[in-house]
């Protein structure tokens, strides 16, 4: 693909359709079958959705459209149809609870809500609480409504099915927009507990899509297993397959990765370290059961027979695991990035050998400087700021355009980036989920029998609690333990699975604090697990 012709997301999709035509682009499971969509199908369907979004916009300012659901072709065309004509997509985490969906629909000023059928029961509540949303579009209904009469009785005016949109609107090519048009508001966890809306422009995505070369080709088959709302999945699975003309196979559930590896036989896969670790355990167990077969042969079979390359991002990848994969004949390459940088900052080159401790070589066009140990980056991928949050924007972006990563590290003479720690308190679980400890601590602090609490990563999320002696002084320990467990279970019920506190520790002394009474997070913790 001629990079010089591509400056907006519409260009990328159009050129990709022109080059690859009716070749299969997206594959997804539909019951027991596989549904294939070509590059042309994708481009035309996204243009139809674009016609609908533009009609809602009605010639005024660009509109924002939120999209929620598991990975699907419908999700992808809803997103691209929004972005093509300069409107803004708001990808939401499929694990958000109702409260979180309401909050982000309102904070993002979304006018359209594209949702998977599993969220249907929430729609009446969203209509009451999200006055800005004027169109609700169900993108994936597995079974048709029983009868038209029933369907209209249950779907008040303003509700639509994506299939209706695809029938009603012609695939007219949208007019080009500015590379500075806001393409997405992507929400990320913040240290204050309030998620921040990262504003990414068309040119940010294009820069990040073009910042490395030779990562795939037209014979490449990618199995996409990461959450689709996540920037890493969006840029590195969806936009990169479009650039290279590779095939994109959608994984329907984390439960089915082993089956889908055999079904789709990918050549490339993007993972987070936790997934790489689990698959490695499966291979080790299979190798132990059949010692006569070499581990590399077992790995070859487990991965569907064609896998050569895995990219890992989102969390720390140990050198041991990289080595274990490399020994099995599969390149497991680490990268480093953040949502605010669309996301890639550093990547391991495909032909790299030796060193495993760095997180990759700086991608093309990305500059780094170190200030008080912190890594600052500057590139065309760096976000425009946080949506309606000038205070947080000012903290993250310097006046001359450097992005503060919050990570500590250094760059060597060969432009390889090394991380030495995190400046922020944000907990990054091994699955790549970001969890703000303050957000959970604030909830626990509201309980009268909790005097102090610190939430940290203890393989699982752990809440260590110092009970309030005024309230718990004469309480038998069994009673205290029961109350704490019940209270944490109650809070967990209101949280997405990734934020649930799976372990509670009880301590008999206050935490160490700074002179300004702030928790020292680096202190060693020693509470008893209950």
């Amino acid at each position: 693909m001629d990079k010089t012709k591509i400056s907006i997301i519409l260009d990328l999709a159009r050129e990709s359709a022109r080059e690859n035509g009716d070749r299969v682009y997206i594959r997804e499971k539909a019951g027991k079958d596989i549904r294939d969509k070509s590059f042309n199908d994708f481009y035309r369907d996204a243009c139809r959705v674009c016609g609908f979004v533009n009609e809602v916009r009605g010639g005024g300012e660009p509109v924002h459209a939120a999209v929620i659901g598991p990975s699907s072709y419908a999700w992808i065309i809803s997103y691209f149809g929004t972005v093509f004509a300069g409107n803004t997509a708001v990808p939401l985490d499929a694990l958000l609870n109702t409260e979180g969906i309401v909050e982000l629909l309102n904070r993002s000023d979304s006018s359209i809500f594209f949702y998977d059928a599993r969220y249907e029961k929430l729609i009446p509540l969203l209509k009451q609480n999200c006055p800005g949303v004027v169109k609700y579009v169900c993108i994936n209904r597995s079974a048709p409504a029983e009868s038209p009469a029933e369907s209209s009785a249950e779907s008040p005016a303003g509700d639509l099915e994506l299939t209706e949109i695809l029938e009603k609107y012609a695939p007219n090519e949208p007019a080009p927009v500015s590379p500075d048009a806001l393409a997405a508001i992507s929400y990320t966890s913040g240290t204050t507990g309030k998620s921040k809306g990262v504003m990414l422009l068309n040119r940010n995505f294009i820069d990040n899509t073009m910042c490395c070369d030779n990562e795939s080709d037209a014979d490449g088959v990618v199995l996409s297993v990461l959450p689709i709302h996540h920037i890493y999945c969006f840029t590195c699975d969806i936009l990169l397959t479009m650039r290279y003309g590779s095939q994109l196979c959608l994984n329907d559930s984390l439960m089915h990765i082993p089956q889908n590896l055999k079904l789709f036989q990918p050549t490339i896969k993007l993972v987070v370290p936790m997934i790489a670790k689990t698959i490695y355990k499966q291979i080790k167990a299979a190798a132990a059961a059949k010692p006569e077969i070499p581990a590399a042969a077992i790995a070859h079979a487990v991965f569907g027979g064609r896998l050569k390359l895995m990219y890992s991002g989102g969390a720390y990848l140990s050198p041991e695991l990289q080595k274990a994969y490399n020994d099995m004949g599969i390149r497991l390459l680490q990268g480093y990035g953040m949502t605010e940088c669309a996301p890639r900052i550093a990547c391991k080159p495909i032909d790299c050998v030796g060193l495993l401790e760095d997180v990759g070589t700086l991608v093309s066009g990305c500059s780094v400087k170190i200030e008080d140990g912190e890594i600052l980056v500057k590139s065309h991928s760096v976000m425009a700021g946080y949506y309606k949050d000038p205070e947080e924007t000012e903290k993250s972006l310097t006046p001359d355009g450097w992005l503060r990563t919050g990570d500590l590290g250094y760059v060597d003479e060969e432009n390889r980036l090394f991380l030495t720690g995190r400046k922020k308190n944000l907990i990054i679980l091994s699955g790549g989920e970001n969890v703000s400890p303050e957000e959970l601590e604030n909830k626990l602090d509201e309980l009268d029998f909790v005097a102090e609490v610190m939430v940290y990563d203890d393989d699982v999320l752990c809440a260590e609690i110092f009970p309030n002696p005024d309230v718990c002084g004469i309480m038998p320990e069994e009673e205290l333990v029961k109350q704490l467990k019940d209270a944490v279970a109650g809070i967990n019920k209101t949280l997405p699975a990734s934020k649930m506190m799976r372990r509670i520790r009880l301590r008999d002394a206050e935490f160490e604090k700074t002179t300004s009474k702030k928790l020292i997070r680096s202190q060693s913790v020693h509470g008893k697990a209950i």
Binding site: L254, M255, Q259, K281, Q282, A285, A529
Partner: protein
Amino acid sequence: MLDKMRSIICNYVDISPEDITEDSNLTDDLGLSSYDIMCVLGELEEEFGVIVDEAEIVDIHTIGEAMTYSKSLQG
């Protein structure tokens, strides 16, 4: 069913099958990661010919709960 569960779980953690009981907590006692648990449930789907609803996974914390859930799916 417990024996089948034991043999599946032993593929993910280095633990003796006899140490896995119905009361074993999947994360705290067995040390399974959230993705390990998804894979275990995927294997149960294949083994028992059932379809697991992802929305209900958050309520499964112990071996016993996973067994009860699988049995309920088998009807």
